[in-house]
């Protein structure tokens, strides 16, 4: 039988459901990854120095750094949170809510009408 670090009672009807930790990890990592994309997009617009620092390939411009940074943040957060929550069974709802807020903020950060305010 799988050993669970339960933070909530296990519903007997769902005993064959795996622990929520790895699922929580990828959900929160998605929120963090999208939020990171919004942040680097807006900062890149606000600061030419920051945009230049993200210009890792001339033909692509700052988009090269923005996309690599946000993708790496997503993968790193996924890995770290999975290691942390591997056997845990955290309540999913607050984690999903946090991820949704981060995704919404990240989406706003990628919207030109928003980030061009900081030009």
């Amino acid at each position: 039988m799988t050993e669970l670090t339960a933070e909530r009672p296990i519903d007997p009807a769902r005993v064959d459901e795996p622990p929520a930790g790895p699922a929580a990890a990828v959900i929160l990592a998605a929120g963090i990854g999208v939020f990171a994309l919004g942040i680097v997009t807006t900062l890149s617009e606000a600061s030419t120095g920051f945009a230049d620092a993200l210009n890792w390939k001339d033909s692509v411009g700052p988009l090269s750094g923005k996309t690599i940074v946000s993708s790496l943040v997503f993968v790193a957060a996924w890995g770290a949170l999975t290691a942390y929550w591997r056997r845990a069974n955290p309540a999913l709802r607050p984690i999903v809510l946090t991820a949704v807020v981060l995704i919404a903020l990240g989406l706003v950060g990628t919207f030109p009408t928003f980030f061009q305010i900081f030009e």
Binding site: R14, E17, K57, V60, S71, F74, T110, Q116
Partner: protein, 170 residues
């Protein structure tokens, strides 16, 4: 009938990968929506779950390939400094400048949200498998990540099609 090297890549980016993404989304969404214990037999459930795992994984891989080819292969041609590049042509007229200033500026960023959300949907599907049929909350969660991936990819794809119509990459 002739397609240049660049036109081939725009075709791969927009049509081939885009169509595969759309097909994987349609199949995956239908499969996930009807993945309920009351609607499928035990044998049917195993087959359905296997198909959904493949569909969501294909969608995630396709989403990554689409944004990588778009940003790292096609986009440099779009934004080249030469006066005949698509970006230069759009910015040369106030009537078309917003296709770049809003359209392309949003497309190049929002598109990268799609693979993150599609990967999350695929990871949840692979991890939970048949448990998704019994747990409506988890199933809906996967569906919403799936739809989020489709909407962000769809916004980017639609803008890409409209921008290409105004100033194609040759």
């Amino acid at each position: 009938m002739h397609l240049s090297y660049r036109e081939w890549w725009t075709l791969v980016h927009g049509m081939i990968l885009g169509t595969t993404f759309l097909l994987a989304f349609s199949g995956g969404l239908a499969g996930l929506y009807s993945l309920r214990t009351e609607l499928v037999t035990a044998e049917g459930l195993q087959e359905r779950v296997r198909r959904i795992k493949v569909g969501t994984t294909v969608m995630a891989i396709t989403a990554w390939l689409t944004v990588i080819t778009g940003s790292w292969i096609v986009y440099p041609w779009y934004r080249a400094k030469s006066p005949d590049s698509a970006k230069s042509i759009l910015l040369a007229s106030p009537n078309t400048a917003d296709w770049h200033n809003f359209g392309m500026e949003w497309k190049e960023h929002v598109a990268w949200i799609a693979p993150i959300l599609a990967t999350t949907a695929a990871a949840l599907t692979v991890y939970y498998g048949a448990a998704l049929a019994r747990n409506r909350y988890l199933r809906n969660l996967v569906i919403w990540f799936f739809i989020g991936a489709f909407v962000t990819a769809g916004a980017a794809g639609l803008l890409g099609a409209l921008i290409t119509k105004s100033a194609p990459v040759h």
